[in-house]
């Protein structure tokens, strides 16, 4: 039995971690912390867990965590858990951090993108970027895993094979992302106020989205090329789901079969990647509607020869493959288990 703790269990990603872990026979959730809801039943904040558990939120303290957990998920906003990590590692805990605090390798990138002076730059080298389809072996041996951002997960997975096989110009990639409301976290604001949030197609952080840094970092590492992407998110009227649409300019004449080959070679045997480019059926190209609640990443593409570009689509559930599902996938790998353990759940259809 593996004892697992969740720091920041009252948010949506914390709730998803509870939903996924509580049904596991091999895992015991010994700790679910929340300063704000300390002492409260978790189902009061996550009603879907009523009659599934009588677990209560507790206070996040180092010895509380160290005493009761072998592994701990940090599901708190950026910059709030960064000071916890060194202490947790010191007492021998394995940490999966869902925040951006340890995703970037170069401390200067934190200053540039997060206006944040990283207190433990040496830990950045030790941290493993938690994208199993690219870093499986490193995650297996890691004690600190930095869980990727949701938009970056979708974007990296659809672009990596194209960049690696030199099918597109890596220094001029346009990424147009559509993202659901649960991707922006749970704290209410005028922008998440229902009358203002319904019915929108709202561009935001159009030229400065912080996930750009980790996408460029990961695509550089896999291709040893200089990579430049322009990412522009839009909030759309769904709760869960991301569709990332990337536009890459083709270097020379490309055959469709080369693209199929690049994706098949990259993701052969990866159970959570589904290639969706199908002239039949309800889902002809990736659509977040068909992954809601599952850990799947649907990837599809089209070759526009007239214009000279490849259009790559990638659909995930931002709370699952974009956060908590991927975090549990990483935990499975760290535990030496099959990465799909407890995660090969079909999504709800229709939703």
């Amino acid at each position: 039995m593996v004892n697992v703790g969740i720091v920041g269990a009252s948010g949506y990603t914390g709730g998803e971690l509870l939903r996924l872990l509580l049904s596991r026979q091999d895992i015991s959730v010994t700790l679910a912390t929340s300063r704000k809801h300390n002492g409260e039943y978790v189902f009061r904040v996550h009603p879907n867990l009523k009659s599934i558990t009588t677990l209560k939120f507790s206070n996040p303290s180092i010895d509380n965590i160290a005493k009761s957990c072998d592994y701990v998920f940090l599901a708190v906003p950026h910059g709030s858990a960064v000071n916890l990590v060194p202490k947790l590692l010191e007492v021998g805990l394995k940490v999966i951090d869902l925040s951006a605090d340890f995703r970037l390798k170069d401390p200067k990138d934190y200053e540039k993108w997060y206006k944040f002076k990283h207190p433990f730059p040496d830990l950045l080298e030790k941290a493993v970027y938690g994208l199993p389809e690219l870093h499986f072996d490193e995650i297996r041996k890691a004690s600190l895993v930095a869980n990727p951002g949701c938009t970056s997960t979708a974007t990296i997975l659809s672009l990596a094979p194209l960049v690696k096989n030199n099918l597109i110009d890596a220094e001029r990639i346009i990424v147009d992302v559509k993202i659901g409301s649960s991707g922006v976290g749970g704290s209410p604001s005028i922008f998440s106020h229902h009358p203002e949030r319904t019915y929108v197609v709202r561009p935001y952080q159009v030229a400065s989205h912080r996930h750009t840094a980790e996408v460029e970092q990961e695509l550089k590492r896999i291709s040893n090329k200089n990579v430049k992407i322009g990412m522009t998110p839009h909030a759309v009227d769904i709760v869960r789901g991301i569709l990332s649409t990337s536009y890459g300019f083709t270097n020379e004449k490309i055959q469709l079969s080369q693209i199929w080959h690049a994706y098949r070679e990259a993701y052969n045997g990866r159970k959570f990647i589904r290639l969706v480019k199908d002239v039949q059926g309800l889902e002809k190209l990736p659509d977040p509607k068909y992954v809601v609640g599952s850990n799947f990443c649907d990837i599809g593409f089209e070759l526009d020869e007239r214009f000279g570009r490849i259009i790559a689509f990638s659909a995930i559930d931002n709370l699952m493959k974009g956060a908590s599902g991927q975090a549990v996938q990483n935990l499975n790998i760290m535990l030496g288990l099959d990465e799909t353990t407890g995660l090969l759940i079909p999504s709800l259809h229709p939703v």
Binding site: T30, Y41, R44, T54, K67, S68
Partner: protein, 63 residues
């Protein structure tokens, strides 16, 4: 964390089971897991708990 010894009190409001830690001291607040009503521990005698209901502010329906 060994399972703390608890005494089960019956909620006066809805007959639900309220698990009160046996080392609870009078004045401690407990709430019913079913109907959410909060009570003050009045006294503990052996394995019987006496609860006093306390007025909580109006329900926040959020609408």
């Amino acid at each position: 964390m060994s399972k703390a010894k608890v005494i089960v009190a019956i909620c006066p409001q809805c007959e639900g089971n309220i698990e009160v830690p046996s080392d609870a001291i009078p004045g401690e607040i407990v709430s019913c897991p079913d109907c959410g009503t909060t009570f003050e521990v009045d006294a503990i005698d052996g394995n019987k708990v006496f609860l006093k209901s306390i007025e909580t502010q109006g329900e926040d329906w959020g609408e």
